[in-house]
Amino acid sequence: MSYAQALRCRECEREYPLEPSFFCQLCFGPLEVDYDYEAISKVMTRESVAAGPPTLWRYAPLLPCDPAYKVDPGTGYTPLRRADRLAEAIGLDTLWIKNDTVNPTWSFKDRVVSVAIARARQFGFTGIACASTGNLANSVAAHGAHAGMDTFVFIPDDLEEGKVVGSAIYSPALVMVRGSYDDVNRMCTELSHDQPWAFVNINVRPYYAEGSRTLAYEVAEQLGWRTPDHCVVPMASGSLFTKIWKGFKEFHEVGLIDEPRTRMSGAQAAGCSPISTAYAEGTLNFRPQKPDTIARSLAIGNPADGYYALKTMQDTEGGAEMATDPEIVDAVKLLAETEGIFAETAGGVTIACLKRMVESGHIRRDEETVAFITGGGLKTIEAVQGQLTEPLRVPASSDAFLEALEARRAAEAGVAVTAGGA
């Protein structure tokens, strides 16, 4: 069963039945799932959650689908790790990394797809589809294969090889569209009017987007049933950002935690920063951009939830930053070198923006902060290839190795900059 009751327009509050639809027929505003929180608060306790499976399904009463329809490759309940070395490097007392690179297809998109595919099956769909910047494509392709559904995956044709292969391996109908993600999205939205498929981020988007709230539930539970002072979250459409805040508020509403006072701050690449630019200009109305950044998973120039992300920043006294491509690469390396976590470029955006926010004083040293790392680095090796320390290349001789090591150390000592880290 599910405690979802209806869909409701976020703009005009008109109510709709739980159907595959995503926008208000009257004002085109986004539809969001409404729940019976009172009933949920009666069945959901800290103990009942703790006794659940080590996946996002431990929060099943708060998900908008009947778990009987789930396709579960083991998504969620990923590690929340203290990151003391990174904290020290950037000047924070307490920093946590929510490491969502360890999901079944190595990104947080497995969360939203888990929920979307369960709801799609509940609706009776036999085909599943998406418009994607890459990570979603990987996840939909894998879940579609696992569920034995017809699977249609649409991506722009300039994605990293790891993301293309990471979809193709599951043998979906993989469609590379000559154009940007925003072109792909428009094309798929047109297709969704007439094709009998569940486009996870279009016609079943209200359900899909709810999957992101599980990141907030996990962080609150893993911190010992409380919320952090500050969250730094990467933004593409802005959906993840708004849903994490929603998740904290809901956890309070069902009585699991105190009222959250978390400040929510978002991270974008300078080459695709419609939301961060609007924040800097003090407006809730972003202007779409033509993306040009190595952070392709965040390259959405026309973000569907940009307006709500900006409102969330306003409501929580949070903010937004943007990072240049070289800063993104440096931050991917910094996270790897200090914490042993290899993130894709979006993770670099998050860490680079976090660093900027600490430097600018937007995040104070004593604010306990959680940084969300939402995708794994093997998906975007192009971004760092050629920018890492060259391996020592030696013949199979211990003397040759020791000699080469000595030479490398001498060279490093001569160039003091590399010794101090980032």
């Binding site: 703009e11 995503f22 926008f23 208000c24 027929q25 009257l26 004002c27 085109f28 505003g29 986004p30 418009a131 154009g179 993600y181 925003d182 072109d183 999205n185 428009r186 798929c188 939205t189 047109e190 969704s192 009017h193 007439d194 486009f199 981020n201 279009i202 988007r205 593409a236 459409s237 802005g238 959906s239 109305n285 202007r287 779409p288 033509k290 959405i300 026309n302 973000p303 569907a304 939830d305 307006y307």
Partner: protein, 92 residues
Amino acid sequence: MAVTVKIPTPLRELTADQGTVEADGASTLLELVEHLEASYPGMRERLCDDDGELRRFVNVFVNGEDVRYLAGLDSALSEGDEVSIVPAVAGG
């Protein structure tokens, strides 16, 4: 001067279920909205807010280009253009 307009599902109740309609004689998007209103009464209110601006969650594309990159409602139209009305809350 005819342009083709792609109509999203919820607006098809105004267009007798047609997913694509033709409109003649509009040289800007604003004029097209007026033409659509004349042929399919109620269309203007669905596309524009009380200030006459395009609603926040309505995207309009001319030949695949978001009109917010062009001149908004003042964007020029010419013979054979394809105008697509698309809900803005998709994707991501």
